[in-house]
Symmetry: C2
Subunit: 630 residues, 2 copies
Amino acid sequence: MSSFDERHMVARKTGVFSRIRLALLGKPIPTARAHHERLGPLLGLPVFSSDMLSSVAYATEAILYVLMLFSVAVLRDQIWITIAICLLIVIIATSYNQTIHAYPTGGGSYIVAKDNLGETPGLIAGAALLIDYILTVSVSVAAGVAAIVSAYPTLHSYLIPISVVCIAIIAWANLRGVKESGTAFAIPTYGFIVCMIALIGFGVAHLVGGPAVAQQVQAEPGTIGSENGHLFLFVVLRAFAAGCTAITGIEAVSNGVQAFRAPEAKNASITLRWMAAILTFMFLGVGYLSLHIPTLKLYSTSSKQYMSVVSQIAAHTFGFGSTFFYVVQYFTAAILILAANTAFSDFPRLTSLMARDGYLPRPLARLGDRLVFHNGILLLAIAAGGLIFVFRGELDALLPLYAVGVFTAITLSETGMVRHWLKLKGKGWATKAGVNALGAVLAGIVTIVILGTKFVEGAWIVTVLLAVSFLLFKLIKGRYTAITKQLEIDDEIPARPTRHTSLLLVPRVHKGILAALEYAVLLDPTCRAVHVVINDKSLPETRRLWEKYGEGVPLTILSSPHRSLIEPITNYVDEMLEEDADQVITVIVPEAVSTNFWHKLLQENVAQQMRASLGRRPNVMVTNSRYFLR
Amino acid sequence: MSSFDERHMVARKTGVFSRIRLALLGKPIPTARAHHERLGPLLGLPVFSSDMLSSVAYATEAILYVLMLFSVAVLRDQIWITIAICLLIVIIATSYNQTIHAYPTGGGSYIVAKDNLGETPGLIAGAALLIDYILTVSVSVAAGVAAIVSAYPTLHSYLIPISVVCIAIIAWANLRGVKESGTAFAIPTYGFIVCMIALIGFGVAHLVGGPAVAQQVQAEPGTIGSENGHLFLFVVLRAFAAGCTAITGIEAVSNGVQAFRAPEAKNASITLRWMAAILTFMFLGVGYLSLHIPTLKLYSTSSKQYMSVVSQIAAHTFGFGSTFFYVVQYFTAAILILAANTAFSDFPRLTSLMARDGYLPRPLARLGDRLVFHNGILLLAIAAGGLIFVFRGELDALLPLYAVGVFTAITLSETGMVRHWLKLKGKGWATKAGVNALGAVLAGIVTIVILGTKFVEGAWIVTVLLAVSFLLFKLIKGRYTAITKQLEIDDEIPARPTRHTSLLLVPRVHKGILAALEYAVLLDPTCRAVHVVINDKSLPETRRLWEKYGEGVPLTILSSPHRSLIEPITNYVDEMLEEDADQVITVIVPEAVSTNFWHKLLQENVAQQMRASLGRRPNVMVTNSRYFLR
């Protein structure tokens, strides 16, 4: 924290609003503080993996749910789909490993695509990622709430309010500056990993030790699809697409290589490998167990009887209502909330990058300025909350939107890396290009599969948002380019003012005004002063005091028939400019500063009104000279 | 309109908000324009009389309603109460006539009471008047809507929405600047007067010509009071108090003497006399007729069958549904709306007066500044609308609150006039003092009667509001006095900065920055420039361009690890102040000005954030140097 901020807080402590803000948001904390402590793989894993690992909570269920809608008979095919996705995870993780080494300063999809493929692919990747961060928040929170609801079914009626409150709490924590230590991430992440390993271990042991019972999956009546000649391949592809939500979050490490301690690339690489290994293990484990639970039931999240697949595995293994059953649910909810939380730090970071390139409003680039950072967080919270609201907090409904963005970004990033190796041609470039090309082709196919199979259910929304965002970026860039052109320095030198006059506003004569007078004289020894008569009674006193303390500066008295302060001054300034167009005028407005909120209401805020009124005159500046009240 | 305003509007015409504002509020019009054309009695009457004359619409009914609640048998006593009130009107008008001559610059109750009786009575009068302006709006609108509802009974269910819309329209018209000519006032006022004279004339002719029928007043069943031993005197006093609402608005002329053309006092005096004469005639006429309509029914305004007494007289005289019946209703509604409208110009004028004396926030004194004027109008509209809402738009419920304030103010004003003559002792001072003393005593008695008889029904609310307002005025004055004391110039001369340094922010190098540089150099030839690195890529270009165009001003490059613009600059300014505490620093923030609303979103508003961050440092000023974009 800068020394100023501390001083500032102390100075403002007395204000009512400041006190409320202090209570709600705490002492202001620089947003980037988390990066002061560089991470090793042990803390890097929890910081970067929550998004990816947490998808274990819903990916298996998503596959099963699609298959079930076709036929109970094909549910067993789930395990092959899971295995295929795990292979995909390994391949994509391997190629992202190459990105880490190629972009040790951080190689997000936006940067890799823009650097190697050009503006359009870069912008599409950027748009895809931004949309995906919003969906990460919505989906993770919806899944976290689903885990809670699985443990406490009576809460099902409060799906939307619980989700919205969760988002509000995460946003609030981020406004306060939550990322103070990797430890805060370590507990829920490692807790979740330990839980899942224990669950899978016990579950498998249970199966081996227990009696061999044929599985009789029960599905909700009426939702089972017809077993007629529907294209089986389409269903499998759609189930695959649904399961691909497990891969979301894989790019997190390559985005944040700079957060690791030296050797950055190596530490990041270790973390990514561990992440992929743990995810693969958990995903396969949950997939295997879900096929061997005789009483598995599949519900829509909109159903009042909803229990997640993971919670049913936990209930079957440890017993519903047992302590460990609840522990699994809590840690699942916790890592999902954490996943939502990471989106809150990634979103403003990406908007900052894109703003620096002129594709988003430039103020967004200044991530370190509290106002800008806060706006980013609020924007994300409102968008994610809006999605929760529109989709009634139902995970089922939100999932089809997810993963389109991620795979679009992955495809572009991988393709970019292929271009990168082709241009660079370093040691072993052909192999590296081959790995990335494989990743690109697979990710491209997955993108097409997701789009094709989920288009009607929601992927079309993401497509539209992508197109709109892309156009918006281009529009913004266009405007900035136009401005740059307008402001380009050319040979014609415009007529510039050669003299400076300062004009002091004198509402009354007191200490504060005398300080402003000092400033006015410092700026311009031949400065002028004006007094607008609002209160006739005080005029003689004003004259008398000015005579005495005005340091010889001439005081012009302006009458104001309509009791306006602004009008006579703008008129006077216009007269001054008519007399001598070759001058620049600084209007100095003395302003009282109160620390107390109620007292502030009694103060005039003339400078702002003056600025608005004089705003179109190029050669007039408005400054307020402040004096401080107890 | 000042030439600037016109230019300003043209310049801003392209903005979306400006266009909406232009459509809603029209071209900005100085609020005081109405006073450019001075009024004779012919136009003065409509401008100042609507509040007073319009009370004919409800005063008779108010008397009858109170009497009816006691007993139908005493309804005939109404005429005696009406005659008593008319006498009171004559006496009070006569004494206000003296005020006009004594205070030709405008003698509102606040001024007269404060000048002659001191601060406390002045503030009570001021508070009473402010509360009364709010009630004038509520009561007049409620009565106007009652006139409409009398003509169109099906509208009764929409009492509140119609009233609120009326207030909104009046407020909107005032924000637009409605008072462009006395003619706008003349039509409804003279229309109403002609209507009432015609109504009374035809009504009396009807009675004389028609068959002599004994009146059989019908009242709502169940609301008739018991005819037991209730104190008859109390009922009469209460009915009298209810009728005194007819006198509200009598002080309008003496408030606005300056609006008349020379000889101001004489013209005002003529207007006041005519006003009183017309009111007396109409009030007596309506009172007389109401007693001679055989089928008169008295309803609460909350009743669905409600018809006002005036509308029943019109219906009896011309037939319900006849053209002239509707004409009477329209003009009644019109003058009532006009009465509400006058409160919208009186309220801000009084707050301006009180603000000049330091009893209300000082910015309110600047009536001529649009922002201030608009806030006053919105405040009044919200307060009056709130009352309508709380009292469900029912005139019955609002009337008990009315008149307490007016009579408190009249009493204080008359007492003040007595003091005035006793101090001044001019020609015939004894007679004049006597007239005012009579007015004071009578008004005082009426105040006590109103308070005593209407206290429970609502006068207590006004009493509480009076006390709260009074305390608020004292608090505000206390704060201003404390500030004045703090800022009083004493002998100790504080250490003042002796050097001035200007510090230019250079985000990029372009034409706009070069203009800002010219200004910075004009202010301080040894000025400094700083560039905060938000975008590393553009740094070399910035350096190169500054080398070329920077006019030799040294450019300090500040790194910003957290990508903050504000933090590095505040730190740098602090370093400068540490180096040399004896200087004053002007931070010059170049700022792009766009005319287009959407473009504005893309612009940085750094100056304001800078001002907030540097706000507590006494020797640092922030100025924005603007450059203009197409």
